[in-house]
């Protein structure tokens, strides 16, 4: 215990003397939580649309107005020919081109079928699907309105009608921030906990002090605890800063128990620091530690479920999400912060992350050698 005291004193002195580290620790969460949620908005709006109006009729005009007034689309231009409109797609000025054929109005008046050609820039598949979906809805609606123009109201038979009422729980305004901010905070805590631990130990390797430590009677677990405890505390501080920013900037107040949140982050940090520790035992230079961290953290982030839904992944990919700690924490954050889930709801997550903590730290301790 006494030895640990000296180790901790040393680590804290070093941390508080490192102004770069402190700046990074406080500035990174602030900047990231301010900027990232602004950028990371996948809601699809502002789709640029161009029309090729070969009809120039009242109906084609009415159709164009209806599309533009829906709020999803922005007019990129009305071109006289398809070639002109296609150029707009090539130049990324337009996402969708709608070609209104000649005789659009006259054919509709004679109750003949009429074809509208829609061309979509589908490089971004999701945007293309959503955009053309919006457009199809508008066209159907337009269609129905025209039909109403022809059909006499008295001729209408009563139709069976299913009335659908939908409600959005926990997030009735569908705020994207509520969804993104807790997730980004998780990535942040992961980066701080994992990377700082790895870098710190590798630094001792590089400047040679670790060798001095290795010739002392200091126990392995003392040394490792001496490293883990300070960075565990730093991780909790960063998390706290993040929660405060989420509250001030985005008005996000956890619905569930804050104590439970801290309990989970405590366990999570141990797991993620074990990961950092493991990296440090495999690297000799800061660049190597950095390369390894980067390699794994990018996989963590991509598979975390923050950017794409885990449900839609194929089976093998779901297995990967099962063994990375980040996906569990993101889910728990959302459960506690947004839905107010309780302890018994997160027990499976807690068990999974605890196992990871034990495995990662155990592996790291086994792999950390005082001798060669």
């Amino acid at each position: 215990m006494r030895t640990l005291k000296f180790l901790l004193q040393k680590e804290f002195k070093q941390i508080f003397r490192d102004s770069n580290l402190l700046r990074m620790m406080f500035m990174t969460p602030i900047i990231q939580l301010i900027i990232l949620p602004q950028a990371a908005n996948f809601t699809i709006r502002n789709i640029n649309i161009a029309f090729v109006d070969l009809d120039h009729s009242a109906y084609s005009q009415r159709f164009v107005n209806k599309v533009l007034s829906s709020g999803y689309f922005q007019l990129a231009g009305i071109e006289p020919s398809y070639q002109g409109a296609y150029k707009l797609i090539e130049k990324d000025k337009a996402d969708i081109v709608v070609e209104i054929p000649k005789d659009f109005e006259s054919k509709l008046n004679t109750e003949e079928n009429q074809k509208l050609s829609v061309s979509v820039n589908a490089i971004n598949g999701v945007k293309a699907a959503v955009g053309s979906g919006y457009l199809t809805n508008i066209i159907q609606d337009f269609n129905r309105n025209i039909q109403l123009d022809w059909i006499q109201p008295s001729a209408m038979n009563p139709m069976p009608e299913v009335d659908v009422v939908s409600s959005n729980w926990y997030n009735p305004t569908l705020s994207y921030y509520l969804f993104m901010v807790p997730g980004i905070l998780v990535l942040l805590v992961t980066l701080v906990g994992g990377n700082m631990t790895a870098q710190n130990i590798v630094r001792e390797k590089e400047i040679g002090t670790i060798e001095q430590i290795n010739v002392t009677p200091l126990k392995k677990y003392h040394f490792i605890l001496g490293k883990l405890i300070p960075f565990w505390i730093l991780g909790v501080i960063v998390f706290t800063i993040g929660l405060i920013i989420a509250r001030i900037l985005y008005g996000i107040i956890p619905l569930g128990s804050v104590a439970l949140l801290y309990f989970f982050v405590s366990v999570y940090l141990i797991a993620i620091m074990g990961f950092g520790l493991l990296i440090s035992t495999y690297s000799d230079t800061p660049l190597q530690a950095h390369s390894l961290t980067f390699f794994f953290v990018q996989i963590f982030n991509m598979m975390s479920g923050l950017f794409t839904p885990i449900d839609s992944m194929p089976g093998w990919a779901k297995l990967i999400t099962d063994i990375i700690p980040v996906s569990y924490f993101i889910e728990v954050m959302r459960m506690i912060v947004i839905k107010g889930s309780r302890f018994h709801d997160i027990i499976p997550h807690l068990i999974a992350v605890s196992i990871m903590g034990i495995v990662l730290n155990g592996w790291a301790i086994l792999n950390y050698r005082k001798t060669t």
Binding site: I35, L36, Q38, A39, A40, N41, F42, T43, R45, N46, E90, E111, N113, Q114, V118, S119, V120, N121, A122, I123, N124, G125, V126, A128, A129, T136, F142, N143, Q147, M159, P160, V162, D163, V164, V165, S166, S167, N168, W169, Y170, N171, P172, F179, R203, Y282, H290, S291, Q298, I299, M302, M303, D311, S312, M313, P314, A317, R334, M335, S341, D345
Partner: protein, 368 residues
């Protein structure tokens, strides 16, 4: 010239000796291509839902069967009452609940009106809206089946063509992005760290007092990374053509030429970073925080730029990757010629000059 070759050989040795760094250089793009290509999709499917069927009649059975037959949903069970929905949501697995009232079918038959309630877990707003829309679509479909006789024929038929990516895959969007990011990683981070390491170890001074011109020292550092980058580009292109079935529509020579320009831009940026950093750690932080994050966020390949507030849209213009991303999409996917991308190319060229000018100036200040 002979000395120069010897020098380049030394730099190659530095790069290829460190296997952990190589893992990052070649592992990152390969993993990203595979994950983006096969695992990640924005599409929403296989979502777990629950049903609260208070009616249990023929109509609700038909609707439930219809829902179960789609790819979108996995029915995870029936709840006895709507009170249990909250509990199901809170344990995390369930994304949506559908509630049928008692006497659903009889109401529908006799009053021509019946109500269905959809309750979504909106903690993920995108999934919530999408799933709600799916259910609405299925119910509307059921309804039109009921009133089939009433149906007037559709008068406007839409004929939609998906250009460049008919299957709406994710790959076309991110392959150019991965290329842009990896080049930056190799060129900015590795170059700056390698130059700063020589400074830190004091070997830079030895090189600078040698009869070798400083410009050659820098060039010798840049060549291996240029080669590694082109190698990386080739690996990514091969993967995307043969693994992801993503053909290269444009001129390959044009693609390689603009890529070389972008690599040079990144190398110049790396040089600039190296003049501003004193330690390897510093170079790493600067290139990661200063370069990687803006590139990932503001180049447009992960987050759509058009959704951002104007200030971020404005800043994104200063990110070289944004322009390169546009170029690669145009050449590789749309098969466009140089006349469509000259503006972006010119911007990259201008940026390169600015970076080189700034780093030369910083370099001189340092020597004085």
């Amino acid at each position: 010239m002979k000395e120069f070759l010897a020098f380049i050989t030394k730099e190659f040795a530095h790069v290829f000796r460190d296997r952990k760094t190589l893992l990052m250089l070649f592992g990152v793009p390969i993993v990203q291509i595979i994950l983006f290509g096969f695992a990640l999709t924005n599409e929403i499917k296989d979502s777990n839902i629950v049903i609260v069927d208070n009616a249990k009649d023929i109509a609700t059975q038909q609707i439930i069967t219809k829902i179960a037959s789609t790819d979108y949903f996995k029915i995870k069970g029936n709840l006895a009452s709507a009170d249990e929905i909250d509990k199901a949501f809170k344990s995390g697995d369930i994304k949506l609940a559908i509630v049928f009232p008692v006497n659903f079918y009889t109401d529908l038959l006799h009053t021509n009106k019946a109500q269905v309630q959809i309750i979504a877990d909106a903690s993920d707003p995108n999934t919530a809206t999408t799933l709600t829309e799916y259910v609405k679509g299925i119910i509307a479909d059921y309804q039109s089946q009921l009133s089939e006789t009433m149906q007037t024929p559709e008068q406007i038929i839409t004929n939609t063509r998906m250009l460049y990516n008919p299957d709406l895959k994710g790959a076309p969007n991110f392959v150019p992005g991965v290329i842009a990011m990896v080049m930056l990683l190799v060129c900015v981070m590795m170059t700056s760290i390698s130059i700063v390491r020589e400074k830190e170890l004091g070997t830079m001074e030895v090189l600078l007092v040698s009869p070798f011109k400083p410009i050659l020292v820098i060039l010798a550092k840049a060549v291996p990374y240029l080669v590694v980058s082109l190698l990386n580009l080739t690996v990514i292109l091969l993967l995307s053509v043969y693994l992801l079935d993503l053909p290269i529509k444009g001129n390959l020579l044009l693609l390689y030429s603009v890529s070389t320009l972008y690599i040079i831009t990144s190398l110049a940026l790396g040089l600039l970073v190296s003049t501003g950093a004193k330690t390897q750690q510093g170079a790493m932080t600067l290139s990661l925080v200063g370069m990687m994050l803006p590139t990932m966020m503001l180049s447009g390949y992960i987050y759509p730029i058009e959704n951002m507030p104007w200030i971020l849209r404005f800043i994104s213009n200063a990110v070289p990757a944004k322009w390169y991303y546009i170029i690669v999409k145009a050449v590789m996917l749309k098969g466009l010629s140089f006349s469509f991308i000259w503006r972006e190319t010119l911007i990259l060229f201008g940026m390169t000059l600015v970076f080189l000018f700034l780093s030369m100036r910083n370099f001189k200040i340092r020597l004085e």
